[in-house]
């Protein structure tokens, strides 16, 4: 009994629920003799890996679904051993090189190269190439990405790469130009509603349209989250009622509370408390850009219209700087402090203004 989101995952290109034209194109691509390197990118929960797996199945048949987990060890020049876990079938291997942190270049050089260099034994019955799926390419260091360039060209005959990432901005242009970029956009709310409806139907659960919409709205266009939300809702309370609370992930609640606290009071003590909360979020491995996003979203709800552009600008500025910088907490805190300063000034001036009006 696995979770719905995994249970109802489509396994063939033809069964995909949205972006059907893209699936069609992919199918054609697979069946044409030439299969290029792919760069699949899109937000979380849009179905990138599902799509990749479908394509692989199209390429090699159902054999790709027999997965195994393997561990490999590498030694860095500084005699540090790195252990990499890979997911592999007989036809492909999936590696997340960014797991190796700053040593990812060694993983790329050693592992990918060896895989790419080996020829298929029986080229007649099989495809002449195998596929290496590299996930989270945008988290690779620049060095590692450069190491990838040559490998991609040199071993084109024996190996194809499917790169998977959230955003191409952090993938170096040299790599981008060597791949066929495939964008997988997040599903629209309507598509999410449709899919959940189907899933519920096959699970034998009746669900109201209102609730579906609610879930879709909360899911932030993330299909995985939508499915999980739906399932938690189902576990916590079934049969569904229309006014049922959708339990959001805990971190979102936490973030929202943080934003509320910032607005509530602008003082040094509050900044310190906020810092602790921000640390807490970061410690749970919530990406800092999502924290920015979440905070901003909540703050904008509370702020007056006049203030909104200014605050968005501050947030954007700080997030940008954060990506250039090193320690995320600095920028998060800077955003909080700046917001407090601006907001307090605005509050006091508007308060004074309203007092003035009242006096008149």
């Amino acid at each position: 009994m696995s979770l719905w989101c995994d249970k109802h995952r489509p396994k063939e290109l033809g069964l995909l629920d949205y972006h059907k034209e893209q699936a069609e194109q992919l199918k054609k691509l697979v069946h044409s003799e030439d299969f290029p390197h792919l760069l699949v990118y899109g937000p979380n929960g849009a179905g990138k890996k599902t799509r990749i797996m479908c394509a692989l199945r199209e390429l090699y048949g159902p054999g790709v679904e027999k997965l195994r987990i393997e561990r490999q060890q590498f030694e860095t020049p500084s005699k540090k051993t790195i252990e990499m876990t890979t997911l592999a079938s007989n036809y492909h291997i999936e590696v997340n090189a960014s797991d190796a942190g700053i040593y990812d270049r060694i993983v790329i050089q050693e592992m990918i190269k060896t895989i790419a260099q080996t020829n298929q034994l029986d080229a007649q019955t099989q495809k002449s190439f195998k596929v290496v799926v590299l996930t989270e390419v945008d988290k690779l260091t620049k060095d590692a990405q450069h190491a990838l360039r040559r490998t991609m060209e040199k071993y084109m005959n024996t190996c194809r790469l499917i790169l998977c990432c959230n955003s191409t901005t952090r993938v170096i242009p040299a790599v981008r130009s060597r791949c066929l970029s495939l964008r997988v956009p997040a599903p629209t709310n309507d598509q999410i509603v449709l899919i959940i409806k189907q899933v519920c139907k096959s699970e034998g659960i009746s669900i109201s349209q209102d609730l579906l919409n609610k879930i879709a709205a909360k899911s932030n266009r993330n299909l995985r989250r939508a499915m999980l939300l739906c399932e938690t809702a189902y576990i916590s309370h079934y049969p569904f009622t229309n006014d049922q609370e959708i339990n959001e992930p805990d971190w979102e609640l936490f973030l929202r509370e943080t934003a509320r606290q910032i607005v509530q009071q602008q003082s040094v003590e509050r900044i310190m408390q906020t810092r602790d909360r921000l640390y807490e979020l970061l410690c749970h491995c919530i990406p800092a850009d999502l924290i920015f996003k979440g905070l901003l979203k909540e703050l904008l709800l509370i702020c007056d219209g006049q203030l909104k552009p200014q605050i968005v600008e501050i947030a954007a500025d700080m997030e940008h700087k954060m990506n250039l910088g090193d320690k995320q907490i600095f920028y998060l805190e800077a955003f909080v402090v700046k917001f407090m300063s601006v907001y307090k000034k605005y509050l006091e001036s508007s308060l004074a203004g309203s007092f003035g009006q009242a006096l008149k």
Partner: protein, 916 residues
């Protein structure tokens, strides 16, 4: 011939001085003092020493010539005008000097040669014998100790010039501190007026004054009719004695004076204060340094003693010699080469700077040592811990003295040992102290008794203490490197088994190694002494060395040395070698500034100074360069320290009238500071990525200078940056999530962030809800889910741990403990075919995933990591053991099996490594 001349002259001068009954040694001092700058001095003293030796040989001859000798001096002593005194003395000195210079050619001659020469010369011999004779008489006098004026020859007969010369050579008390001072009733001298003349036998002038004043009397400076007592010592001024007769004033000697204390307070069996002298010696110096004008200086120049205003080079050395006297007797030549630090090493606890009080560390250590045998005698080897452990250290077998260098830790240890009568073995960094050696050297000695005690019968301390000994481990924090590997651990072992007290001394108590040691030690922390304490002690040294120095200059030296007494002394001795008078002129000031100890500032202090608004603080940075220097105390820690603490600064110069305005202003400043810090952070990233370290000053400006300028104000003790802890926690969570994602990867498509953000909370409810709601009936569905996602029991715990946010209730606490137990049992019963090998991520050291590239921090992170994990593990264990002991066992077994899996995998790889 030259030698002959010299000897003649010296013996002559001695001859003249006979009246003053001065011992040859003193004479030698005086002689040497006459030419204190010339190299002749050394030679001279050598000669005198030799003479002294020969004197003892010819002891018998002395008595024969004694009579003729006594006649001789009468011939010489003719009264002359006092005005001529000085002139004569000068001429005398000049003559002598020239003679000395001549004789200096002979310097290379060994004493034996000189001796040979001398013996050839018959006439000289007689004189020598005369001189020796004097010596004997001196001895007589000194043994008598009581000097009544009657015994002396009428002073009027003396030649005034000789009188003056004698005055100039006059010594301090011959036997300082030899007589116990009785404790009398307070105010027993009330209203009485005293005057002392001459040199008292055991008291110097200030001691005398002190005693008188202590009991309510007063000391006048000149003769007056109102005077009650005239206390007479050696070389008493005749005019005073005469006047005393005229005015009918009682004249008493020193002994009578001391008796007077008893009689006036009506005590028959007086108690004696022993420590008075000790205290006084320090005090004397101070009081005497204050320029005081004696009114009768002109009228009775003989009476005048040591006022700094009048210090001629002669006097200075004289003063010095007085103080050194006890040592001079032993080895004078060695004395000259001694460092001041050694020379003025305190010999008693009360004299150690800052350790005089009842509750001082030294006294704590003293009590601890005293009671050590009692506490740790064989019967109660494991002393009970009690509430006042840290007060008395009763349960500790070792003591740990810690504090900055140069404030007397080692000295304290040594002095305390001496005081309690312990013999000690001292081991410091100059000895290799590896585990082996420690075991060898200490291991034996800690279990044995000192053999010394069997031979030395005349131990000063009572017999009870005679077989006591202890070990002083100096510079424990210096036990490092390959040489001393394992030293600290071994030391701890030795402490545990020791039968004798061990005193460890270190500088940095917070050092990792020392921290483990500190748990086994009676913790005595030494702090920098206060300015006044150091000042008083240094003043006394300055005085003894005859250095004239102003108070504020001395203060500067002390603060410049960062209260390091040792360094103060070194600096003083170097400066004084050039110039004995140090006034606050520009040159000496600049000297001191240059000598400002470059104190290795600790980052916390630096952080405090970054925000410092108090310009009076001597260490406060004055310009941008100095402020930037603060950043460089630790350029990787400072940005974080500033970021951690800038919020807790209370800025001083906030504009605005109302509190509201000020608050807004404060927020504005905070904004500017944090923005600047962000800028600094970006600079830091660039400089680290590109190895462009020349950017560091830029970062200094952004990360510490600007925030410091914006938020100038008061700050408490800076907190340690929480970033380190949080960052390592994040790295750990990251690793755990990664592992979790790996376990589930076959079934899910999400990456680790997706797992963390989406799956965690769902899985948490899915895994715990059935157990909470249905109890044991929920177990199969949970197990089913776990199997589906290939989750292990550890993963289960991880999910709960990571999925719980602060402020949330721990779902595990809602599960009945019986259900939990049966759940674990059910899980263990099944065999789990996981598609992966289990690695205990939490125990992986070295953080595969420390995402930042700088090595220094890596080390720290790893350490903290371990701490975190340990803490977490502890919490878990505690929680488990409270709720259920059975499950704890079972989980352990699971872990063990998991471990064995790992081991079997790890071993081959390890062996491979070895081969390569």
């Amino acid at each position: 011939m030259q030698v002959k001349k010299l000897i003649v002259s010296t013996s002559l001068s001695l001859y003249k001085m006979k009246k003053e009954t001065i011992s040859p040694k003193k004479a030698s001092n005086k002689l040497s003092s006459d030419e204190n700058t010339s190299p002749v001095r050394k030679h001279n003293t050598m000669m005198m020493n030799w003479l002294n030796k020969s004197a003892s040989k010819k002891h018998d001859e002395q008595s024969k010539i004694k009579k003729s000798d006594s006649n001789a001096h009468q011939k010489i002593g003719d009264v002359e005008l006092k005005k001529n005194d000085k002139k004569d003395a000068k001429v005398d000195a000049k003559k002598k000097e020239s003679k000395m210079k001549e004789s200096s050619d002979e310097e290379e001659l060994s004493p034996i040669k000189i001796k040979a020469k001398k013996e050839k010369q018959a006439p000289k011999k007689v004189k020598m014998e005369e001189e020796l004779d004097e010596k004997k008489e001196t001895k007589k006098h000194s043994t008598k100790t009581i000097m009544s004026p009657k015994e002396k020859d009428p002073p009027a007969k003396k030649g005034a010039n000789k009188y003056y010369a004698a005055y100039m050579r006059r010594d301090g008390p011959k036997n300082p501190g030899s007589k116990p001072v009785p404790i009398g009733k307070p105010n027993c001298f009330a209203g009485l007026k005293f005057l002392s003349t001459g040199v008292l036998d055991s008291l110097d002038r200030d001691e005398f004054k002190k005693i008188v004043e202590k009991y309510g009397g007063s000391v006048t400076s000149g003769m007056a009719k109102k005077l009650d007592y005239l206390v007479i010592g050696d070389d008493a001024g005749e005019s005073k004695i005469q006047k005393a007769k005229e005015f009918n004033i009682k004249t008493i000697n020193e002994d009578e004076f001391l008796k007077l204390i008893c009689t006036r307070s009506g005590i028959t069996n007086p108690k004696y204060e022993n420590e008075v002298e000790m205290m006084e010696e320090e005090m004397t110096a101070e009081t005497e340094m204050k320029p005081k004008l004696e009114t009768d200086k002109k009228t009775t120049p003989k009476k005048e003693i040591k006022t700094p205003l009048k210090q001629s080079p002669k006097l200075k050395t004289e003063v010095q010699d007085i103080k050194e006297e006890p040592k001079v007797k032993k080895e004078e030549s060695k004395e000259k080469n001694e460092l001041w630090v050694e020379k003025y090493k305190p010999q008693a606890i009360s004299k150690i700077i800052g350790q005089g009080t009842e509750k001082s560390n030294a006294n704590k250590l003293l009590n601890w040592l005293k009671n050590w045998q009692q506490w740790h005698s064989s019967g109660n080897s494991k002393a009970k811990k009690s509430w006042n452990d840290q007060e008395t250290g009763s349960c500790f077998k070792a003591a740990l003295l810690s504090g900055p260098p140069g404030i007397g830790k080692t000295t304290t240890a040594q002095v305390v040992c001496k005081e309690v009568g312990y013999t000690y073995i001292e081991l410091n960094a100059s000895d290799s102290r590896s585990k082996k050696l420690l075991d060898k050297v200490l291991g034996e000695s800690t279990e044995n008794a000192s053999i010394e005690s069997y031979f030395k019968q005349k131990h000063k301390v009572s017999d009870l203490n005679k077989d006591k000994h202890c070990v002083i481990m100096d510079e424990v924090d210096g036990m490092a490197g390959n040489e001393d590997r394992g030293g600290v651990q071994e030391l701890i072992q030795i402490i545990k088994q020791s039968k004798i007290p061990i005193i460890c001394i270190c500088n940095d108590r917070q050092h990792v190694k020392i921290r483990s040691l500190a748990n086994h030690c009676f913790d005595l922390r030494f702090y920098k002494p206060r300015l006044e304490q150091v000042r008083a002690a240094l003043m006394s040294v300055c005085f003894k060395e005859g250095i004239k120095i102003t108070g504020d200059l001395l203060d500067q030296i002390i603060t410049g040395c960062n209260y390091d007494i040792r360094q103060c002394l070194h600096n003083l001795s170097i400066w004084s070698s050039n110039n004995k008078t140090m006034t606050s002129t520009q040159s000496s000031k600049s000297d001191i500034e240059r000598a400002m100890k470059d104190v290795r500032m600790n980052p916390f202090e630096a952080c405090k100074l970054v925000f410092n608004a108090d310009s009076s603080n001597s260490r406060a940075p004055k310009n941008i360069a100095e402020k930037m220097d603060l950043f460089f105390t630790d350029y990787s820690l400072m940005p974080l320290l500033v970021q951690e603490n800038y919020l807790s600064v209370v800025p001083q110069n906030l504009k605005g009238n109302s509190k509201k305005e000020k608050d807004r202003n404060h927020l504005e400043f905070l904004t500017q500071s944090i923005e600047s810090m962000c800028q600094g952070d970006r600079v830091s990233k660039i400089l680290r990525n590109n190895n462009n370290w020349s950017l560091l000053p830029v970062q200094a400006i952004f990360s510490s200078y600007i925030p410091g300028e914006k938020l100038r104000g008061h700050i408490g003790l800076p907190a340690f940056p929480s970033w380190f802890g949080k960052n390592s926690k994040r790295a750990r969570v990251d690793r755990i999530l990664q592992e979790l994602q790996k376990h589930m990867r076959i079934h899910i498509s999400a990456n680790k962030i997706g797992v963390g953000m989406d799956y965690l909370s769902v899985l948490k409810t899915m895994l715990t809800r059935p157990l909470i709601k249905k109890g044991t009936d929920g177990i199969p569905s949970v197990l089913n889910l776990m199997n589906e996602y290939s989750l292990t029991r550890d993963d289960f715990d991880t999910i709960i741990e990571l999925g719980t946010w602060p402020g949330q209730k721990d779902p595990m606490s809602m599960i009945d403990s019986k259900v939990k137990a049966s759940f674990t049992r059910a899980y263990n019963k099944e065999s789990h075919k996981n598609p992966f090998t289990i690695v205990n991520v939490k125990k992986i050291k070295g953080a595969k995933l420390t995402d930042d590239g700088y090595d220094e921090e890596d080390v720290e992170e790893v350490e903290e990591d371990e701490d975190d994990i340990a803490a977490d593990a502890m919490i878990k264990v505690n929680a488990k053991s409270k709720s259920k002991t059975t499950t704890a066992k079972t989980t352990k077994s699971v872990k063990r099996s998991a471990k064995s899996n790992d081991d079997s995998e790890a071993k081959p790889s390890a062996s491979k490594k070895k081969r390569t």
